[in-house]
Symmetry: C2
Subunit: 413 residues, 2 copies
Amino acid sequence: MIGEVIAIGDEMTTGARVDTNSAWLSQQLAAVGVRTFFQTTVADDIEAGVQAFRIAAQRADIVIATGGLGPTRDDLTREVLAMLMNQPLEFRPEVMEHIQTLFSRRGREMPERNRLQAMFPVGADVVPNPQGTAPGLDLTFPREGLPPSRIFALPGVPAEMKQMVQATVLPRLVASGLAGQRVMRQQVVKCFGVGESEMESRLGNMIARDRTPSVGITVSRATISLRITADATDDALALQQIMETRQQIYQLVPEFIFGEGEGCELQDAVSDALVHRAESLAVIEAGAAAPLAGWLAGKPGFRAGIYVPELNDLEKRKDEPQEEIFARIASENKVDWLLAVDAYPQLPETDQPLPAFPLRVLIWKAIPSSESKGELQVSELELGGHPDIVQDRIAKAALDILRKQLKRKTKDN
Amino acid sequence: MIGEVIAIGDEMTTGARVDTNSAWLSQQLAAVGVRTFFQTTVADDIEAGVQAFRIAAQRADIVIATGGLGPTRDDLTREVLAMLMNQPLEFRPEVMEHIQTLFSRRGREMPERNRLQAMFPVGADVVPNPQGTAPGLDLTFPREGLPPSRIFALPGVPAEMKQMVQATVLPRLVASGLAGQRVMRQQVVKCFGVGESEMESRLGNMIARDRTPSVGITVSRATISLRITADATDDALALQQIMETRQQIYQLVPEFIFGEGEGCELQDAVSDALVHRAESLAVIEAGAAAPLAGWLAGKPGFRAGIYVPELNDLEKRKDEPQEEIFARIASENKVDWLLAVDAYPQLPETDQPLPAFPLRVLIWKAIPSSESKGELQVSELELGGHPDIVQDRIAKAALDILRKQLKRKTKDN
């Protein structure tokens, strides 16, 4: 089946807001075997809206639209769909009742204009919205020489929209046989410390478009995700395909892999390793950024974060030796490890990739049998890149050095 | 003039990546008076690509596309445009020379497949790409009964694409009379501490769609931006309109405004106020997040950040009084102000809005004439919202309380 996603709103076509609903919807469709060829974003304009729906319904079996269902005069999706279907709008008392209940539960008077949200084109089904006042629409658009196209129009508020897709839209698509004929399974392997093009060449034929299962590469803030997607006739087969490909990836690029799963980040790998060793960590950050304390906050094994403009702001007396400073901080915070970044650079205002900045990552490890003594390892790095990601890349490089030490060293070393 | 933006790539139609190029391009077009009615995202597929360009060129005077110009077999935009224009692809030696120069400057051999990037449909102009190997295309698509549509196809790498738009695409549009007939000016007023719907009702008719200049509301991570957009025949007139509207906004919602300009954040307002008073600040964060140190890092007046899992991890001895702890930390870090958040909540994994969490914001201010004495003010808050923004909202609420104190109190108080 072919799907199409439509996002409605001037805030997107003027560029004031980036649309994230469409990517999420395409993922949901892919998971039930529906491929998206087109995503269309359209302004709050009746004529443009009708055109967008007409084109989409002609070329796609399933159309899911978001936005334009609020109570204001900019919200034109109900009128657009009435024109598309060539049906008048009618008042639905049961929808009105739901809207009034929501307002009275919040202890507020319903403004008169919210009556608009109970107007539906004749023949349209309602998609319930338990969280908000804008119910969705479910329509069947007839096509000449083809089975009809199924159209869903949902509110643009992401939390409401997502709940409605999971509770109503996907079940209806599966029940009507439009989706779910194949089982799709995904597994994500997370990597750090390598560029996208080098990763591509290391993986070779694994990333061929026509491979089964497919392996996709995406990069987000210097972290690489390898997404294995199996699309099979049953779950066991999909799972088996995933496991084989996963093993091949571990053979090809073992040194870069730090974890698995969409949400796994380097700080999770570090926290897991600390828990495994029953040890604890404090981080020290200097310069123009300090992301590590926030990333690690609340995670097991992480005990303290310190930010100072310059590393020697940590001195208690002039020229206190670095080893002493670190031993003191570790003892004050009762930790086994210190990770220090010296320092995040002040970035110039530019949209161009920046040259590499020199910096140091310091790792201090308490020597277990001794009183307040430790072993200090200093790594000199040079890291650059686009200004949006340079600081994150530095923080991640520091975490990755620590992660490798936590894995390599035995606990008693 | 009507514009349309096309984004090309399976990584977007599968939902693996959110397209941010299109929003940026629509903003650029708006700034030279071109309105975007549609943004289309299309898969890496020849037939779908030709269809997307054909529809766009029929309904828009200017089409800007990004993506699909790389050297791999997924990159089909050159072929798509050749089919659209009904012209064969020809080899351009001068483009080849540029690509080879780029490779040799990086000290690398050019792979054979990069020759593809020098293939252009007959009649297409080149859009130079000083930073990358993928030059852009500039075509003129004839339309029956209408002036021709101008099509630009650019690489998807944001830094390269943006440079090409500013250096070549916009100047060519202005030179050809397709853009720039009107002057657009924008000014952004930043607010915090109010919900979107309350802000809307406070602003009343200011946000009417047909107002000149227009006032748009966008919300990002609990910060509200009011964007005043004037579109006039000359610069002085646009500026005058902006200034009048700006003053009206200051009269309507003075208590929420903390600054102006796209990039201004609460931490900038706090840093500015500290500099103005010649005072300094340390922050203490406890719980499951620690964004403040990173936001303030490197800004004038900010001297230290401390993260601890729980606020009483700061005690040097059991039951050390909070006032003493704060006085000691202020003295150790030589600061006049301490801002503490106690504590960022551990969030459950959900996509639903969360109920309000109780927390405390503590502000400690040194009493200037005394030795290590201070005044402690504790605010009890309850803040909730979508899990993606709860921690940022808490951090911003804390900054906003401090900002108001910095503005209110005279330096000697």
